[in-house]
Every structure is written in C-alpha cells, then in structure tokens.
C-alpha cells in the first residue's frame, strides 16, 4: 500500500485535537460528593468500566474518523499483482510488440495506454527464463520495417522499452507482426512467439508453412479492468465534417449512436453506430463549415460515459490572410464622384496599396475566408441586400468594416445592432478609444459630422463603442460576430455627411481604423496539428500571447519561439489583448492505423508460468467510506452521552411505614 500525496500526512497532527479536547474536558470536570452514587455503582458493578470504555470508544472513533479523512486526501492505493498470462519460458525466443499507434495515447484511468503497455512488457522481461532471447519493439513509422534486436540482458531490454514512443503514422500492425515473425524464424530456440500488447485485437493472416512454429499471443495492456464498450480513438475535423475513428473493444457487438456536439452542449449531428465485436470504423459527422468552435464527439448510450468515450476537437481555419477587399455596390462614371475615392486614397497612404475593389457579384465566386478583412463602403439603400452577405462573411471568420455613407432605411438590424435610420443634426468633434496620436486626437476634435441615432438597446448588445461625438452619440462600434469581427463606422466618410475626408488627419484615422479591424480578428489557427508539430505564434499575435496551457494543465511561455505540441488534447493559447482564448487541438493523424478488422485468432490461454504485473488500485473511496462508517457509531455513541429524558426522580412522599 502506498500514498500518492505523502505531504497530506502533515494533517495527521489534527488527530491530537480530540485527545486534547477530551483532556481539557476531564480537567474541567466539576467535583461533586454524592453519597447516593453508590446505589448506581453497586447495582451496576461494571458500569464504571462501561462508561470508561464508551468514552475511550468515542475518542478512538473520532481519531479514526479524522485519520481516515486525512488518509483519503493522501490518495492511498494498493498495488497488487494481476495475472496476465504465461511468461516467456526457457528455450524461447520472443518479440514483444507494443502498440505504439496513437491509440496508445488514449487516457485510461488517468494514464495513457502506453504506460500500461510498458508495465506489462516490463513484467514479461522480468519474468522471462534466463536463457530466453527477447526483443522489444513498437510499431514502426509507415513504410518502414520495425527494428528487432534480440537481447538476453534485461537492462538493455528495459532500455529499449523506455525508448519506445507513440508513432504518428505507424505501419500497419499486421505487417509489423509479420516482420517480427520472420525475424524469429532465424532464432535458435525451440519455442518462438510474438507477444502483441494492444488494446485492440488484430485480424491476423492465416498461418503459413514457413511460420516456423511462431505463435502470436495477443495481450491486453489492462488485463483486469480493460476499457469496455466503444472507444473513440480520435476525432479529426476536416472540411465540413469531423471524422471519428471508433473501436469496439469488447466481444459484444455495439448498437448505439455517435453524436457531435458544438457550441456548448448543442448536438450538431448524430449518426447511428453499429460495430461488431472488436470492430473499428471511421465515422464522418457533418459540422458547420467556416466556423471556429470547440466541439466533442461522444458515444451514446454509455452509462457512465467513460473518458475514452469522449473526444474533443476544435474546428477552425487555416492560416492568416491579408486579402483586403474594398466592396462597392455600384460604380460611378466620374471618379471624383466615386464615394470610395477618399477611402482608396487614404488606404494607399497607409500602405494598403492595392486593395481589391470588388463587387458583391465578384465575391460570390471568391468569398472571403477566415482571416480576410473587408471594408464595405455602402450606401444606406444597399444595406438590405448587403447584410445577409456580410453575415455570411462574419460567420466564415472574416473581419468586416462597414462604412455607412448615407442614411440607411428607417430601421434595420445588423448583427444585433438596431439602427434608427435618421440623422440627428450636426455634431462637432468626436473622441475615440482607438490608439491615436495626440495630433490625430486634436484633429478629430475639429471634425463636423452628422451621426446616425442608434437605438438604446444597441449599447447592450455586445458592441464596444470605440468613438463617440462630443454629445455622447456613438460613431464607431465594434463586436465579435460569428467567427469574425464587425466594425460599424457611422461617420460616413463622404463629404455629404462629414468633413472628415478633408482633414489632414483623415489618412491617419483610416490607418487606425484599418489596424483595428485587421488586428481584431481571431487568431489564425490550424485545423489539425499532428503531435510533435511546432506551433509558431501567428503574425496576429505578436507579443500579446502570454502562455500555452497544455492538456495536463501545465502552462508554458510562448515567447521563446516555436512550441512543440506533443500531448493529445486541447492546447489553450491565452492572449492578453481583450483576454481572448484561442484553442488548438492536437489530433492524431487521420491516416493512422485502424481499419475494419475482425478477430480471427483468439488470445491463447496461459498454461503455465503465470506472469503477473503490478496494478495500482485506488483506495481513496474505500477509505472515505470507512471514515463515514466510523463517524456513524461515533455520532450514535456521542448522542447517547447527551441524551436526557424529562423524568422525575423518586417520590419524597414517604413519611412513615411499618405496621
């Protein structure tokens, strides 16, 4: 028996508390001379002993309860040997093959399967016969042969074992087993066997004449309590679908559903799942395209839902984009009357030399993608046709700056903002929360504009007000919408509504506005990282990225260059600008090893030479139950101490008797 948290034993000092309290109580006992107490003690001779015993019993129970509680938090465990099968006997050559496919990363009982496989292989090594020749290997990378080196030295074998790790794209395990079988044929031993340690059973080729008597033994790495039912090996998001590979790890067929969740607990799709015994399958489940969200795939029904029956994934978009569109709905013949004239000029001045001027029709063939940023200078009358398109762009992850150049229709909704389409007089000067130079801020104070009135509820609809007139009317609003970002500029940017374009600070204002839109997007994320990939901070997240939290909860600094994402699970990148969190999923490679397979060779029974491996059994729950069991009699006995019935004493109405 051992403890996972020895330091918790410090709290065993609290055991002294009930003892001290008892001593204190006895010291404060009130002395009373009561001659009649002898009636009680004479009649119940052992009563003193019973009371003393009961007092000690309560004390012991209290101490025991505290002790058990402390022990519970120390996470006790029991190690016991579990019989896993026959060991490697004398005059035997054996190749131990560990399933180092990404399946080995699946966490079972807070440990990856690989750890259980290693423990089992170590058991085989330690229990082998002295003259046995043993090789340890794992699945080799796809297209390569496994490295099989026979050793008699246990230390070397354990070194080989320790060097094994998960292979991203492994070779087909049946080929690896075939290679192991071939290597055994040359070994000068009477018995030859391949020990395949994996959570899955393989369909193995039939015996051939040149097998040289090689036997293949399949052993489960968790022999006493293996994962049961269906295990989701991975869930890889692809374009429009998340592909889940599921394996039935039991001898019973499974009939159920596979569900994909997104946006919290919403079921996006459910598909029937039917697996024969030991069968594995890939199941595509449709997911919304163009959205960045965190989702999960779950097996249903599964009660209780085991950890290996849920896989998380993150659907996102690849790579940052710098494509810039300047959308116009119509074209003017006279460039001086082009409502985009001032804007294009300003954009050239700020470095966006060639913003693509596109119409809505153009963008139907080449729609904006995640990361694109678009400035839409639109007349108010164009809004009804434009808004659904803008909405789709936002859903796809684009960043859109909507510059309203004239009054919109009387009332309309845009991404949660209700606008009242009237101007409200002339306002002079406005201030902005965008990072501006002092000169620019002074310049904006001289600007005259006619602002639109926003309905009051707009201000509570998730919009951030970035600029206001001196009268308090909003001029510039921004919010995240869908997977993208929307900026609404109500200054107009046309001479009919404002004199801003005629001010010298106009290019600087456009630059500030463009920078805000361009940087306000979600951080670019890759859809799928293969384990071991290096993550580079994307351009949109320069020094603002502070840390990466790995699936095991450890945080790493991201400012030291590329970060390897080794663990399967969700890596969270936290930025300190606006506190947004971007999530990546390091998924196993979808081209890995599991195909439909059926069991043909059952694992062989172990006739002799039992092989056992140590297994750790968590005793926390048991100890907690013991603590509660101890508390119950403690409470009962303690209550019996303080019990009192309102009962009168014997009558004193006895003045004479006798005859």
């Amino acid at each position: 028996m051992g403890l996972e948290r020895w330091l918790v034993l410090v709290f065993l000092a609290t055991l002294a508390v009930p003892v001290l309290l008892e001593r204190l109580r006895r010291r404060r006992a009130l002395p009373v001379e009561l001659p009649a107490i002898r009636h009680l003690l004479r009649e119940h001779a052992p009563f003193q002993r019973v009371l003393a015993l009961r007092r000690w019993l309560v004390l012991v129970l209290r101490v025991a309860a505290i002790g058990f509680l402390v022990l519970t938090f120390a996470r006790p465990y029991l190690e016991r040997d579990v019989r896993v099968g026959r060991g490697i006997g004398p005059d035997t050559a054996a190749v131990i093959v560990l399933d180092t496919s990404p399946l080995a990363r699946v966490q079972v009982e807070e440990e990856p399967l690989l750890a259980a496989e290693r423990a089992l292989a170590e058991g085989f090594v330690r229990a082998r016969a002295a003259d046995a020749l043993v090789a340890i290997t794992g699945l080799s990378p796809a297209g390569s042969a496994p490295r099989v080196v026979f050793e008699q030295d246990g230390t070397l074998l354990l070194d080989h074992l320790a060097a094994l790790d998960v292979v991203g794209e492994p070779e087909d395990p049946t080929r690896v087993l075939e290679a192991a079988r071939s290597s055994l044929a040359a070994q000068p031993r009477a018995n030859r066997e391949v020990i395949w340690i994996s959570a899955r059973r393989l369909a193995l080729p039939e015996r051939r004449d040149d097998d040289a008597g090689v036997r293949i033994v399949q052993v489960h790495p968790i022999p006493d309590d293996p994962p049961r039912g269906v295990m989701i090996v991975d869930a890889v998001p692809e374009a429009g679908a998340v592909v889940s590979r599921v394996a039935n790890l039991s001898a019973e067929p499974f009939r159920g559903k596979l569900q994909v969740y997104g946006h919290g607990q919403r079921v996006l799709h459910a598909a029937a799942l039917s697996l024969d015994a030991w069968e594995t399958a890939s199941v595509p489940l449709p997911i919304p395209q163009g959205e960045t969200f965190l989702g999960s795939v779950r097996v249903s029904p599964a009660t209780p839902l085991e950890r290996y029956q849920v896989r998380y994934f993150a659907a996102g978009h690849a790579g940052p984009s710098t494509r810039t569109f300047l959308v116009r709905a119509g074209a003017e013949e006279d460039p001086r009357l082009d409502p985009h004239f001032f804007l294009r000029s300003a954009l050239r001045a700020v470095g966006e030399a060639s913003p693509r001027v596109a119409s809505l029709a153009d963008l139907e063939n080449d729609p904006p993608r995640a990361g694109d940023w678009i400035l839409v200078a639109a007349e108010g009358t164009e809004l009804p046709a434009l808004l659904p398109v803008v909405r789709a762009w936002l859903d796809a992850g684009a960043r859109v700056g909507l510059l309203l150049q004239s009054e919109p229709p009387p009332t309309f909704d845009l991404a949660g903002a209700t606008l009242v389409g009237v101007s409200n007089g002339v306002h002079r000067g406005f201030t902005s929360s965008l990072p501006l130079s002092t000169e620019l801020a002074a310049c904006l104070a001289d600007v005259t504009t006619r602002a639109l009135i926003l309905a009051s509820e707009t201000r509570a609809a998730g919009y951030e007000t970035l600029a206001i007139t001196d009268d308090g009317l909003p001029l510039l609003l921004g919010r995240r919408s869908g997977a993208g970002y929307l900026l609404i500029d109500l200054t107009g940017l046309v001479p009919a509504r404002t004199d801003l374009p005629y001010h010298a600070c106009f290019p600087a204002w456009i630059e500030a506005l463009v920078n805000h839109v361009a940087n306000a997007t979600l951080a670019p994320a890759r859809t799928v990282f293969v384990e071991g990939d290096a993550f580079d901070a994307p351009p949109g997240l320069p020094a603002s990225v502070t840390s990466v939290a790995d699936p095991d909860g450890r945080a790493r600094s991201l400012d030291a260059g590329p970060v390897r994402l080794d663990a399967v699970g969700l890596h969270r990148v936290r930025t300190d600008d606006r506190g947004r969190i971007v999530t990546w999923e390091v998924a196993v490679n979808p081209r890995a090893d599991l195909d439909r397979a059926a069991l043909e060779w059952p694992a062989e029974a172990a006739p002799a030479d039992d092989l056992t491996v140590p297994r750790r059994i968590d005793l926390s729950d048991l100890v907690l139950v013991l603590a509660l069991l101890v508390l119950v009699p403690e409470v009962v006995v303690a209550l019996s101490f303080s019990r009192r019935r309102a009962r009168p004493g014997p009558s004193d109405e006895k003045l004479s008797s006798g005859s």
């Binding site: 001379e33 009561l34 009649a36 107490i37 004493g649």
Partner: protein, 292 residues
Amino acid sequence: MPRLDPDLLTLLHRCRIEVRTNREKAYAGLHRSHHPGDGLEFVEFREYHPGDAIRFLDWRVLARTDRLYVRRFGHESAVMAHIYVDASASMGVALGGPTKLAFASELAVYLAFVLAHQGDRVHVSTFREGRVAPLPFTGGSDAVRGLSDALAAVVPRGDSDLAALLRDVELERPQLVLVISDLLVEADVLDRLLRVSRMEGVDLRLLHLLDRRELDFDFDAYTRFEDPEERSFKLEVHPRSIRDRYLDALAGYLRRLEIATSDQAVAYARIVTDTPMRQAVLRYLQEGRRGT
C-alpha cells in the same frame, strides 16, 4: 446550629410520641390502647356500671352532679427512648441546602424535647465508625439548648457502621429507638438493624434523610461524582448520560427499603432535607400518631 424555633417548641408541648408494644406493632395503625387497670396514673372517667369497685367512685362528681362516675387508672411507666444520629461523612454532604447532619441534629433536638416533655427518659447519641457517642441531655429547656450545641459541634466523618448502635440497643434495651440517618449501609447491616424491632419491648423507628438533589439528580455539567465514604465509588461522566440509570437504582433501593421496613414492622419515614423543619417535625409526629 440554627436557633431553635420557640413557636415550634410551644406547639410541641401538646405533642406526644407513643411507644408501641410488640402487640400493638402487630396492629399498628388500627387503634390506640391504654390498657387501663390498677396503676396509679389517672387515665379517664367512665360511667359507673354494676360490678365496678366502689372505691373508684368519684365522690366529688357524685356530690356535684348526682351522677355515678368511676375513675380509671393505668400503669405509670417512664419510657426509655434513645435517639441515634448518624454522624458519618455522607451526612456532612450539602448539595445546595443544609447538610443532612445539621438537619438530623435539629430534628433530633425537637424529638428529644417532645419525649422529655412527656416524661420519658431520653438519650441522644451519635454513631459512626463502630462507635456510639452519647450526648448530654437531662430534659429541661436548658438541656435542649445544650443538646443543640453538642450536636452542632459534631464533625461528620467515617462510615455509618451500625455495629456499636446494635450493641448499645442490646445492652440498654430502650423501649423506643429512633435512628436518624441517610441509611447508606450494606444490605446485611440494615437487615440486622431492622431485626432490632423484633426484640421484646423495643419500638424501632427509622428517619431516612435524603437531599433534594439526590432525588432529582439535576446535574448538568460534566461532573466527577464521588462517594465521601467509599472513595472507590467515583464516576466521571456527563450526568445526562446516567440520569435514568441512577434514578432507577435509587428508586429500587428505596423500594427495597420500604418493603424491608414493612416486613419487619419498623416505622419508616423519608424526609427530604429541604423540608421546613416545623413541617417535617409536626408531620412526622402526626403520622406517628396515626401509625401507633
């Protein structure tokens, strides 16, 4: 010793403690009997019946009323009464009120006064640890005060060994034996005491004193109980946890005591020490008259 109550003493002039003979004890409580006869002590007048001796005719009554009455006389005998007061350590316990010894002493003084006033010879003694210590008492009003002072000077200690008391009774053969005690004695000793009542011409009366808190056991705090006579009898406990058991044991003891006294025809009275002395004395005397 508190000052004696003069009103109570005045009241006690009219009270009497009758001594029961063995024959009376057999019918105690049914009637009174004076056995008038040839003695010297005048008992009563009675109308003359034919056959009565002429010498008992009261001539003065005949002269005044012209009616025939005879005088009746009985034996005049001075009763020897012995009052034994328990002076053991348990009598010195006070649980909020007076000690049992103080109460017993006062009670003994008043009872001695009654006995002396009705002409009996009274001896008052304390007993403990196998010894009987007689106290001076001659019967006058000064003697009452002297007895009171002597009892006040008694320091309770030791156990309530009754052996000396029994020896004393066997030697002296008093007609009336009053034992004032908390009766914390072994069962066999108590049995021997009760058998005193079987002696020819001995009227044994037990006055059992109890403290109110002994009866109610109304202790609350965690307490260490000790028996002042038997130090091995001690118990450290929360009183609430043993109250029922204690009350059962006490009630059982009192029940056995009542049965034993009844079987042995011993007059038994239980007095709680918080009873006002006047009430305790008068009530005891009234009950005693009804009982004899």
